[in-house]
């Protein structure tokens, strides 16, 4: 078995660190820092990229399904079409295909979220819970993708 991709990327990162220490040109240093960041993110996400996206898709589809009984007929038709279209392509596990599915579901989530906000005066208790759960889903997705440590001190 060949060395794992993360182990190779870790070695590449060490090489970049060595190059950075020797580099005096500020432009080149900045470019090395960009390169280091991108490799760090790839390395972090490598192993979990597919399951994380599948979990995100499952969560988004569940939210859209819960929204179906709460929305207008026209929006319901749109959300059902979105669900059906993405259900049909779920066997494709390429990251690009999964990201495309997530983007399509996000379009549906935007419409559902906006509808629920506008209709907040309605008393149906599921609306408020669904809005809260949409936010929880969105927060988890952003947290998974966010590059937070230790890069805040980039000049």
């Amino acid at each position: 078995m060949k060395p794992s991709v993360p182990s190779v990327l870790a070695a590449v990162l060490r090489g970049i660190e060595d190059s950075s220490r020797a580099e005096q040109n500020p432009v080149k240093l900045f470019e090395l820092r960009i390169l280091r960041t991108v490799i760090e993110v790839i390395n972090r996400d490598w192993d979990g990229a597919v399951p994380a996206r599948i979990a995100e898709i499952d969560s988004a589809m569940s939210l859209l399904r819960r929204g179906l009984p709460l929305v207008s007929d026209s929006l319901r038709d749109e959300l059902q079409a979105t669900l059906a279209r993405n259900e049909a392509t779920r066997s494709d596990l390429h990251l690009s295909a999964l990201d495309k599915t997530i983007d399509s579901l996000n379009a549906g989530l935007i419409d559902l979220h906006e509808y629920l906000e506008v209709e907040m005066h309605c008393t149906y208790q599921g609306r408020r819970e669904l809005i809260r759960d949409i936010w929880t889903h969105l927060e988890a997705c952003a947290r998974r993708r966010a590059v937070i440590e230790p890069l805040w001190d980039v000049a």
Partner: protein, 344 residues
């Protein structure tokens, strides 16, 4: 432009500075430069008194594509107006050239000032004795910008003057349109934040002021003696001074060991106090909250523009992709936190 056409620069500057024997001693590109290519150029010539003159200049060149479309004329005008504002240090402007044929790209030139801009530098040993004073000065200068009288200084020729009550909608619509025009995928958090902002607009400011538009650590020069020059005015406009205050306090610039403080050095409340002392305004906290959420939307618009240009094949490559990689989702997390969406 990855290389500077030094001979053309020499020819141009010799005319602009009326120095026939002007020669370029050295030219080096500055790091960063997401919106423009920035070069430091040292020149020398013989003065009218026959004595040698040496001067450091900074050239800011329009790139073929930028995170924000070139607003060079606005930037140049803002530098010139602020040159006369007490308490606001800016470099002396030398020339502003629209013709791309002169040195290979439209550009302006200004005097080079001493100091560094690097945010981490302020936490280094060289600034141990002065860093708190520099942060205080940062917000006092921002207050002075808010207090500056800009009327009748020619800014109306390059920027529009909004009615106070229209400012929030003008700014929000502007950045919302930029996000839409640079579509890179659906952004449900940012869309929700924009709806949140539209549901609860801020009160109008007491008066329309100069807004730097990107006032933060990293965009001014400082030495152990203090702040030498406020730079990077390419997003400057007339608007609500709280836009700048919220931007300067944004979590993007809270790095180092204490993330409750800007640069680990100054709390938002301290900063607001310094800003109020020189601006003459009271910072309405509800309005400041609105501009803080707006700050995150505006940041997302900037990162989105960069990502879009990268995906469209910008020649500046990773420089445009980098901010979206680094900040996009963190910006979304800060939006959620600021809105209090999860607690609702």
């Amino acid at each position: 432009m990855s290389d500077l056409a030094v001979e053309r620069v020499q020819t141009y500057l010799s005319k602009a500075l009326a120095a026939a024997d002007l020669r370029v001693l050295s030219a080096s590109q500055f790091a960063g430069g997401i919106s423009r290519d920035t070069w430091g150029v040292d020149v020398a010539w013989t003065g009218e008194d026959g004595l040698p003159v040496e001067r450091g200049l900074v050239l800011r060149l329009d790139p073929p594509i930028s995170l924000i479309k070139s607003r060079r004329n606005v930037e140049y005008a803002m530098y010139q107006v602020c040159r006369d504002v007490p308490g606001v240090p800016v470099p002396l402007m030398i020339c502003n050239e629209d013709d791309p044929e002169q040195i290979g790209a439209p550009f302006f030139a200004m005097e080079k000032l001493k100091g560094v801009t690097s945010p981490p530098a302020i936490l280094g040993p060289e600034f141990e004795a002065s860093r708190q004073a520099i942060m205080k000065q940062m917000f006092e200068i921002l207050g002075a910008i808010a207090a500056a009288r800009h009327e009748g200084k020619g800014l109306a020729d390059v920027v529009s003057t909004p009615a106070p009550g229209d400012i929030w909608d003008t700014e929000l619509s502007h950045w919302e349109r930029i996000i839409a025009d640079n579509h890179i995928g659906h952004q449900p958090i940012t869309r929700a934040a924009i709806r949140y902002l539209r549901r609860s607009p801020p009160p109008p400011p007491p008066r329309v002021t100069i807004v730097h538009g990107d006032y933060r650590i990293g965009n001014f020069l400082f030495t152990p003696e203090g702040i030498n020059g406020i730079l990077d005015w390419e997003l400057a406009h007339l608007g609500d001074p709280l836009e700048d205050l919220a931007w300067a306090l944004a979590k993007n610039w809270r790095y180092g060991h204490d993330r409750s403080r800007v640069a680990s050095l100054i709390t938002p409340e301290q900063a607001i106090e310094y800003w109020e002392s020189t601006s003459g305004y009271k910072a309405d906290r509800a309005a400041l909250h609105w501009w803080t959420v707006f700050t995150h939307v505006k940041c997302v618009a900037l990162w989105t523009t960069g990502a879009h240009e990268f995906m469209a094949g910008t020649p500046r490559g990773a420089m445009h992709a980098f901010p979206s990689w680094l900040f996009m989702n963190a910006q979304e997390l800060w939006m959620i936190e600021e809105i209090g969406a999860i607690e609702q």
